[in-house]
Symmetry: D2
Subunit: 464 residues, 4 copies
Amino acid sequence: MWGGRFAAKPDTVMQAINASIGVDKRLWREDIEGSKAHAAMLAACGIITRDEADKIHEGLEAIALDIASGRFVFDEALEDIHLNIEARLTDMIGEPGRRLHTARSRNDQVATDFKLWTARACDAAGDALSALQQVLLDRAEEHADWVMPGFTHLQTAMPITLGHHLLAYVEMLDRDAMRLAAAASMAREGCPLGAAALAGTGFPIDRGMTAKLLGFDGPAGNSLDAVSSRDFALQAVSVLAICATHLSRLAEEIVLWTSPQFGFARLSDAWSTGSSIMPQKRNPDAAELIRAKASRIAADFQALASIVNALPLAYAKDLQEDKALTFSAFDSFDLCAAALRGMMQTIRFNRQTMALAAEKGFSTATELADWLVRAAGIAFRDAHHIVGACVKKAEALGHESLSSMALSEFQTIDPRINAEAVAQLSVDKAVEARDSLGGTAPQRVREAVQRWRAALGALDEEEA
Amino acid sequence: MWGGRFAAKPDTVMQAINASIGVDKRLWREDIEGSKAHAAMLAACGIITRDEADKIHEGLEAIALDIASGRFVFDEALEDIHLNIEARLTDMIGEPGRRLHTARSRNDQVATDFKLWTARACDAAGDALSALQQVLLDRAEEHADWVMPGFTHLQTAMPITLGHHLLAYVEMLDRDAMRLAAAASMAREGCPLGAAALAGTGFPIDRGMTAKLLGFDGPAGNSLDAVSSRDFALQAVSVLAICATHLSRLAEEIVLWTSPQFGFARLSDAWSTGSSIMPQKRNPDAAELIRAKASRIAADFQALASIVNALPLAYAKDLQEDKALTFSAFDSFDLCAAALRGMMQTIRFNRQTMALAAEKGFSTATELADWLVRAAGIAFRDAHHIVGACVKKAEALGHESLSSMALSEFQTIDPRINAEAVAQLSVDKAVEARDSLGGTAPQRVREAVQRWRAALGALDEEEA
Amino acid sequence: MWGGRFAAKPDTVMQAINASIGVDKRLWREDIEGSKAHAAMLAACGIITRDEADKIHEGLEAIALDIASGRFVFDEALEDIHLNIEARLTDMIGEPGRRLHTARSRNDQVATDFKLWTARACDAAGDALSALQQVLLDRAEEHADWVMPGFTHLQTAMPITLGHHLLAYVEMLDRDAMRLAAAASMAREGCPLGAAALAGTGFPIDRGMTAKLLGFDGPAGNSLDAVSSRDFALQAVSVLAICATHLSRLAEEIVLWTSPQFGFARLSDAWSTGSSIMPQKRNPDAAELIRAKASRIAADFQALASIVNALPLAYAKDLQEDKALTFSAFDSFDLCAAALRGMMQTIRFNRQTMALAAEKGFSTATELADWLVRAAGIAFRDAHHIVGACVKKAEALGHESLSSMALSEFQTIDPRINAEAVAQLSVDKAVEARDSLGGTAPQRVREAVQRWRAALGALDEEEA
Amino acid sequence: MWGGRFAAKPDTVMQAINASIGVDKRLWREDIEGSKAHAAMLAACGIITRDEADKIHEGLEAIALDIASGRFVFDEALEDIHLNIEARLTDMIGEPGRRLHTARSRNDQVATDFKLWTARACDAAGDALSALQQVLLDRAEEHADWVMPGFTHLQTAMPITLGHHLLAYVEMLDRDAMRLAAAASMAREGCPLGAAALAGTGFPIDRGMTAKLLGFDGPAGNSLDAVSSRDFALQAVSVLAICATHLSRLAEEIVLWTSPQFGFARLSDAWSTGSSIMPQKRNPDAAELIRAKASRIAADFQALASIVNALPLAYAKDLQEDKALTFSAFDSFDLCAAALRGMMQTIRFNRQTMALAAEKGFSTATELADWLVRAAGIAFRDAHHIVGACVKKAEALGHESLSSMALSEFQTIDPRINAEAVAQLSVDKAVEARDSLGGTAPQRVREAVQRWRAALGALDEEEA
C-alpha cells in the first residue's frame, strides 16, 4: 500500500509486480464474511457502535451482490481484494467504513480469508472424489467377473478381474479423501483474525467470537504464527499432488487401454477428440491432460515450499504468491477429477479382447506353481523352477498360454503334474482361485463393492 | 531376478542399475519381522508345519543378529534385501527356507517392509519434534519479557517479546507433529502382506493374523492397490517437507540474528565453525545446512511424485527408487531437527541489542494509531493518516523512534495527541498492551508456555 | 478437434479441460506469420495458385490487424489459436482458406509457432538483462571505492568495495545472457513446418523456403522429432530459472541491506510500499516478490520436465500444457528483471553505515595473517593460528576490530607483529591491498567497469 | 573448520551435519591438480621457493597414488577433501605443506575443483550420448524400411518406418550433446583459484598461470562471483535433466513395445529380469528405472536451484549440498545412457507384428485425403470431411483398415475416389510417399543415416 508519508508514486513496474487483485479477488466471499464477523465482534465488544456495525453489514451485503453479479469494478491501484472492498464500503457508508479496520490488519485478514477458502476447496475436492468413487463402484460391479491381464512392469503377470482393478482406485481415493478431510480440518484450526499485523492487538476484542462465527475450531494461539504460516496451504496442495498421482495413473491406463494395441476399451464420443488431418483418430486428450496437470500440481507444491523455505517471520510479500499457486492446484485438480469421472462413466470395455489378452503370456504359470506346492508338497522355490521349465518348453513349442500345452508335455518336465493341475490353468479358474481377502475373485469383488457402498453411504448420511 | 529360463547372464550395467541392495538393506529389520510373521501365519493355517516355522524363526533370528553386528555379507548379485535374507536362510536351514515364499511375493513383501519402516520413521521424527518443542518452551519462558523487534518484510514493524517469537515455532511444530502422526497411522493402514504379486493368493491364508502381528490396523483391502501404491511414502515425505519449511525459517532467523548487523544472538562454540583464512569468523554452518536440506527434502517429494505419476498398475520397477528418496528425506530431516535443537539449547541472546533495535524504526507507531481510535474516537483509517504524518515529522527531525519526539511536535500534527498518548510509545508499554489472546504480552507468553507444557506432558503420558 | 465422424458433442468438462485458446492465443502473431510463409511456399511449389496465396495473405493480414486492435473475437469452441484463425480466414475468403492446411498439421504448426515465440522471448529477456547490467555498471562506478563488509555465512569476513560487489552480478548476468542467446539459437534450429502430423508429407513442398522465411536456420531433419520435442522450451525455461537464482540473490541482498539492522541502503519511494497499520514501514515488496517468483520459475521447469518425461512419440496432448508454463516463466522473469533494474537505479546507499560495519567483526584479520606470511616468512597455517589468538585477545578486551587494539597487545601474542603490520589493518588499506586480478581494490573495480562497458557496447554495435 | 579461538569442541550432531568428506572426496583428483598448479604458480611468483614447490608436488603425487589405490584413510574430523589432503601433505613434508594455503582459501579451492569435475563429467556424458547415437544409427539403418504404426496420443496415426522413429532420437541426442558441450565450456570459463575467500588477495599471484595449467579459458573476473556462483553446476544438471526426458521417452517406448499387447520387440536376456513368483515374466526393469531416474535428475536440479535462490553473497554453507546433488545427477545419467545403449544394441524387433499394427486403425486415411487434394483438386478441409465419412463407413462394415474396403463402397461416399486412390492406401505405399525432407520414406531414412555418420565421424576426428 502506498500513501501516507511517501512523496513519490510507485513505478508502473512496481505496480504490476505488486498488485494481487487479479488473483486474490477470488477471495471476495471469504473477505466479506470475515469483515462481517469482525464488525459484529467489534460491536459486541463495544469498540464500534451497533449502528456502525449494521451499516457495515449492509454495505458488505450490497458489495457481495455486486461482485456476485459481475457489477463490481475492481481497481488495480487498490492492490488487493481487501482494499478494494474496504474502499468501496467507505464510499458507500462513509465513516463507519473507516472504522472497520480497527484491531485487525491485512496480514491476519488475508490469512483468515485464505484459510477459509482452502478449507472449502478441500471440502469440494472431497465431494468430487466421492462422486468419482461412486462411478468406479458402479463400473466395478458391472465388470466384477470380466477377466483381464493383471500387469507388472506392463508385462502380463496374472489374470485379474476388471472389477478388482477398478476397486484398487476406490481404495486409493479413499485415502485421498481422508487426507483432504484432514487438510480441511487443519485449515479450520486457529482463526488468525485479531492477530493484527503480527503482535496481537491492545483492543479488548473477542477472538473466540470471530473464530466461531467463521466456522473455525478456535482462535490461533500465537499472533506471529497466525500471520506467517502457510502450512495449511502446503498441506492442502500436497494432498492434491498425492491424489493427482492416483488420478494420473488411471488416466495413463485409459490411454493404454484405448490404444489400438490394447483395444481393451473405447472412450465415448463425448470424451474423445479427432485430428485435423487424420479423420479416424479417437484421441484420449482429457486423459493425457490429466497426466500433465498432475505434474503441474506437484510443481505447485514445489513452488510453494520453495517460497516459504527459509523465510523469516512474520509476514513477507513472498507469501503473496501462495494464492496463485494454490488456486492453480485446485483448478487443475477439479478439472482432473471431473474429467476422470466423465470418462469412467461412459467408457466401454471390450470383454473378449481383455479375456484373450489375459490368456497370453503364460499368465497362469503361478497357478501351476501354487498347485505343485499345495498338491505335491513341493517347496515353493522348487515349484518355481519346475514351472519355469514348463514355460520355456511351451514357448519353444509356440504356445502362448500354458493351458494350450498338452498334459504329456508337462509330464516330460515333471511327472507329478496331472490333469487336475492342468485344469487350474484357465484364466477363469485362476481368478476364481484367488479368493483370499483382498484377492481378485469375482465374489470378493462383489463383496467389496457392497462394503464400499455401505461405507460411502454412511459417510453421506453423516454429512447430511 | 534372473534365472529360471534365461539363457544369458545380465549385463554388468544391467546389474548396476537394477541392484537395490545398497539402499534397501536398511529394511532388514522389517523384512525379518515380516518373514517371521508370515511363517507363523503359514504354520497356523497349516500351509507349512510348525516345525518348519520354528526353523524359519530361528534362522531369521540368527540372521538378524548377524546383520545387527555387521557380520552379514550382502551380495549384490542377489539384488535386494529380500533375496539376500531368503538365500542365507535357505543356506542355513535348507528345505523350510524354500517354503517361506509360499503365498507371498516380493511385491507385497517390500510394500510391507517399507510401510513398517516409514511408520517408525514418522514416530521417531515426531519424537525429535517434541524434543525440539521442549527446548523452545524452556527458552521462551526464560525470555518471556525480552523485547525485540517484530519484523514484517524484514522491516521493524512492532516490538514483540522473544518468548512470543519462539512460541510461534512451537505452534508450527505442533501441527507438524499432528501431520507426522497422521502419516504414521496411514502407513499402518492396510498390511500388504498376502496380496502376493498383485492378485491375492489361492492359499487359505489369514491376512488378519499377519497384519496384527506386525502392528497394522488390518490387512489391505485390495491386492492391486496393496502392491502398487506408495501414497504412504508420499504423505510422509510431504509432511517432512512442510515441517522442513518451519525448521528452515528458524534456521534463517539464526543466521540473521547471529550476523553482526543484527547481533541479537551468539551461537555456542559447539555450534559454530571458523574459517580457514579468517580466524575471527563464527559461522552458523548448521543453520545454513538446514536451509539447504529443507530444499532437498522438498525435491525428494517432487521426485517421488514424478515417479509415481502416470504409472500403470500394478508394481513397476520405477518404484524401486522410492526408498532411496524416502530414506534421504528422513535422514536430512533427522539431522535438521537434531541440529536445530542443539543450536537452540545453547544459543545466547543479547537483551540490550534486541531492545535497542526494537526502539528504532518508529516501531510503536501503531500504538499511537490505536490510542487515537480508543481515546479520541477517531476512525482507524484517519488515525493511520495522522500517525503517518507524525512519523514523517519525526524522521525529518532525525528521530529514530516516536518516543523520543517531544509532545509539542506531535501536537503540531494533531492537538488531540496528549501526554498519555506519548506515554504509550515505549517498547515495554507496547508489548504489555498487546495482551489480547495470542498477543505478545509477557503475561500471555507465560500462560502459553504453561499451556504447552501441560499439553505436551499429557501427550507423553498418553504415549507412555 | 471434434467433428467428422463423431456422433455426440463433447462433454462440457471435456471442452473446459481441452480448450487452449485462453492460453495459446498469445501465439497469434507467430501463427499468422507461419501461415503466410506456408501459403507463399505452397504457391511457389504449385500446390495452390498464386491468387489463392494472395487471398490468404490478405486475409491473414486483416486478421492480424483485428487481433492487434482487440476486435477479434476468440471462440472457445474452436479450441485453439490455429483453428480460430483458420476458421475466420475461411469465413473471410472462402475456398482458398480451406486449402491452407494442405501439407501441414496442427502438430507442426504449433511447434513452429511456439519455437518462434520462444526465440523472441529469449531475445527480449536478453535485452532486459543487458539493461540491468548497464544500471549495475553505473552504480558500480559511482561506488567503486565505497567500503562495505564482505560476508560469508552472513558473517563479516573482509572489507570489500560496493562497486566490486555489484560487479559480481554483472558477471553472473553475462553468463545468463550467453545462455539466453544459446537458447534463442536452439529455438531457431530446425523449423518444424512441413513435418505435418508426424511422418512428413507426400506433397512436393519446399521446407527450406518456409524455414528461411521464418528466420530458422533450416528445416528440422526428422518429422517425428519436429512435432514431439520440446527441449527448446525446457532449455529456455531452465536458463530463466538459473538466471532467476541470480536475480533473487540480489533481491535478497536488497531486503537485507534496506532492513534497519543493516541500514546499508534505502529504496526510493517509487519502489517501497507502506503498511495498512504501521505507517512508518518502507517495505521492499518488489524484492520479496522477485525471490518468490524465482521459486515459481524453477517449478515451471520442473513441471515441464515432468510432463515430457517418459512421453512416447509423437505428439501427445500433455504437450498442450507446455505453453502455459513457458509463458508463465517468461512473464515472471520479465517482471523480475524490470523490477530489479528499477530498484537498482534508484536505491541510495549509506556510505558511513557500510564503512562502520566493515570495521567490525575483526574483518581485517586476514590482512594480518597475510602480512605475517609476507613480511615475517611465517607459514600461512602458523600465521592463521597467531591471528586467531590476536582476535581472541581483542574480543576479550572488548574491541570490535583489530585496528583498535594497541600494538603492545599484539606483541604479547607474537613479537614479530610491528607497527607496519598494524597499519595494514584499516578497512581502506585492506581493500586497496587486494588488487590482484578480480580483487576488490577500487582501481580494479574501475578497470572492470571500463572493460564491461566496452564489451557490452561492442555487443550492442554488433547487434545494430 | 573448528579450532583457533574456539573453546569447546563441536557437538557430534554438528560434526555429522557439517562433514562433507563422505561426498567431496570424489573431488580428490581435481583438488590435487589444483594444489599442484597453485604451488607451481606460488613458486613462479616467488611466494614460496622452488624447493618448497617441488616438495609439495612430490607429496601430492604420493597422496594421489594412495587415494587411487584405496590406501588413503579419510578422516571425518577433517571435514572435507581439502583439509584431508592438506593435513596429510603436512604430515608428509612438514613446513612447505603449511605454506600451500597462501593466497587461496577453501572457497576458491572448492569452486575450482568442482568446476573442473563438472566440465569433465559433461565431457564424459557427451561421449556416452555419442556412443548411444552410434547404436541408434546402426539399428535405424537395419530397420530403414520396417513399417510400424506412428502414434499420436498413443493412437495409430500413420504408418512410419522404424528407422525413421529411431532417428528422431538421434536428433534429440544431438541437441543434448550440443548443450553438454556448452555446459562443459561454461564450467571451464573463469578459474576461481586466487579469488581467495571472497575479495581476492594481496599476494602478487599470477591467476592466468593457474587458470592455464588447469585448462580454464582464463581467470574469473570477479572474486565474489568466483566463490559464490554455482550456475555452472545448475547449467550442467539442467542439461542432464533435459536429456533425461529424451532417454526416458525411449525407455517408455521400450516398455510399451516389449509389452505383450504391443509385441513389437523383445529385450535380450541380458537386459530382462524375471519374477520371483511368475516364472514367465520378461521385465524391462532397466527401462523403468531410466524413467524413474529421469524424475530424480529433474528433482536434483530443483533442489540445486532452490538452494541457491535468494542466497546472499558470498559463500554460504548451503552450497555444500551442491556436490551431492550434482554427483547424483551425473551418476543417474551415466547409468541411464549406458543402460539404454545396452538395451538398444540387443533389442530384437518383430517386423510382422509391427506391420500388421500399422495396417489397423485406418492409418492411411490421410493418404486418401492428400490424394483427393492432389488428384481431384479438392480443398484439404473438404477432403478431410470426405475421408471422415469413408472411415465411418469402413468401421461400420467391420474393416480395420481402409485398404480392405472395396472401391465401390468408397464411391458411395464420393465418386471421385478411384482405383488409383485406393492403391495408395497400403502402408508400404504410404511410407514411400512421405518422402519430403525429414519424412519417413525409407530412402530418406538411409540418407539421414549417412548424413549422421558423416557428421558424427567428423566430430570424432575433430576431437582426436
